[in-house]
Symmetry: C2
DNA sequence: TCGGTCTTCCAGAAAACACTGGAGGACAGC
DNA sequence: GCTGTCCTCCAGTGTTTTCTGGAAGACCGA
């Protein structure tokens, strides 16, 4: 190649490269490829392994197939998928390496799970009060909006559990997040924690819930 | 790592990997990354090099930046972008390698341009007639739809130039495609050829155009 | 402080994509 | 032939991405 191809071809070439990129632009497909790099599997086994529906799995596999990253083999009524060649798996690990090197979030995810087990304990009212006055915490009220409007911990923001996923981007990645809800048996806060931690946030639960905070005579507020 | 992280984290990890994948899921961004792997450049210089608008270029660069694939440096009023590290460029070449290895289209693109110069000559009416009867050709009429309805070569399908891009998927990748329009000085067919060839199709032009075909007493039709 | 330049942010339209459920195709066993 | 299994295709819905102009922000030089 002693000369560049003309512009029209260059664009189309890049589009071909992008086909590969698009194929690995989805977490589900990456999961599938990782599994396939371990060995051949049927559609159904991939579906159960990833927790996706069979239809959806099949469609993702079609995408990978048209990008020529995987190949198929029919055996009776079922179809076995496998990675098209070792280079594909090489690309996957390269991708993972870049992700680990470049994305701090990945490190944080691992650290959050493997270390800091004390973060799994609820935070006491007293400690939260201290942190609130030092402003080194974000307190979120994960109950439905109308309950928040009625009464909430002073300084807390309302993020109903249903909206949490959508509002993740509003939350700080480095500060501690404390979630609370109706009381010690309420499931909203634990669910919020699970989501937050899976996304790499540092999150803890307040001991008990709002009624106990209020009963302790600690500062509350109402309205939005 | 002697144990897998729990499912919630695994999913989130894959999503982090997919962030990198998404970043390279667009031909434009791949082009930008390739340029940046050669060295630092300003937004404007990237915009002119790729033929994109500055706004659009900037937005693609933001995507790359949030994926941590590129970094910036301010110098007075302009901002210099560069690849975040060599591993990123390594990933790009790995991507290109897989694309070349796996995508036949890429090979075809190169071949279409570097070889088969005879395909650049128009096809004669006589040859087209023969191929039409052997059905080993797809003839497309790239004039506006109403002209097609009035009269067209029998066996041709109507794909007005404006719609060609959208309808590329309807065309065969292996068969020969012959385009015609109003006559030897009409620009529609040449433009269609440029697009088709850039996308890897085998495409030729009919000598002259419809009037000459008709004048030669060859088979025509009308209606849709 | 005031233009001028370079870049980013924002809002809206068009296109592409992911997921779902139901219909259809290929195969094995009876 | 018929039935059941496994997979793929199709159509519809809701979300995300891409691109475009216009406005705003950061910086330089006068």
């Amino acid at each position: 190649m002693n000369q560049l191809p003309p512009a029209g071809v260059r664009g189309a070439l890049h589009e071909q490269f992008a086909r590969i990129g698009k194929a690995v632009a989805s977490a589900k497909r990456i999961e599938l490829l990782e599994l396939l790099c371990q060995g051949e599997r049927t559609v159904e086994s991939l579906a159960t392994a990833t927790g996706m529906g069979v239809t959806n799995t099949s469609q993702h596999l079609q995408v990978l197939k048209t990008a020529r990253l995987v190949e198929t083999r029919r055996a009776g009524t079922r179809i076995h998928y496998r990675a098209a060649d070792e280079r594909v798996c090489g690309l996957m690990s390269e991708l993972g390496a870049v992700a680990r090197a470049r994305l701090v979030e990945v490190e944080r995810l691992v650290r959050n799970y493997l270390e800091a087990p004390e973060d799994l304990e609820p935070i006491t009212r007293k400690e939260l009060l201290g942190r609130l006055s030092r402003r080194d915490v974000v307190v979120i009220d994960v109950r439905p909006m109308d309950e928040y409007k009625a009464t909430h911990i002073r300084g807390a923001v309302s993020i109903p559990l249903a909206e949490l996923k959508r509002r993740l981007r509003d939350l700080p990645k480095n500060a501690l997040i404390v979630a609370y809800c109706r009381g010690p048996y309420c499931v909203l806060a634990p669910q919020a924690l699970a989501l937050l931690r899976a996304r790499g946030f540092r999150a803890r639960r307040l001991e008990d819930g709002l009624p106990e905070w209020r009963a302790a005579g600690l500062p509350i507020a109402s309205g939005s």
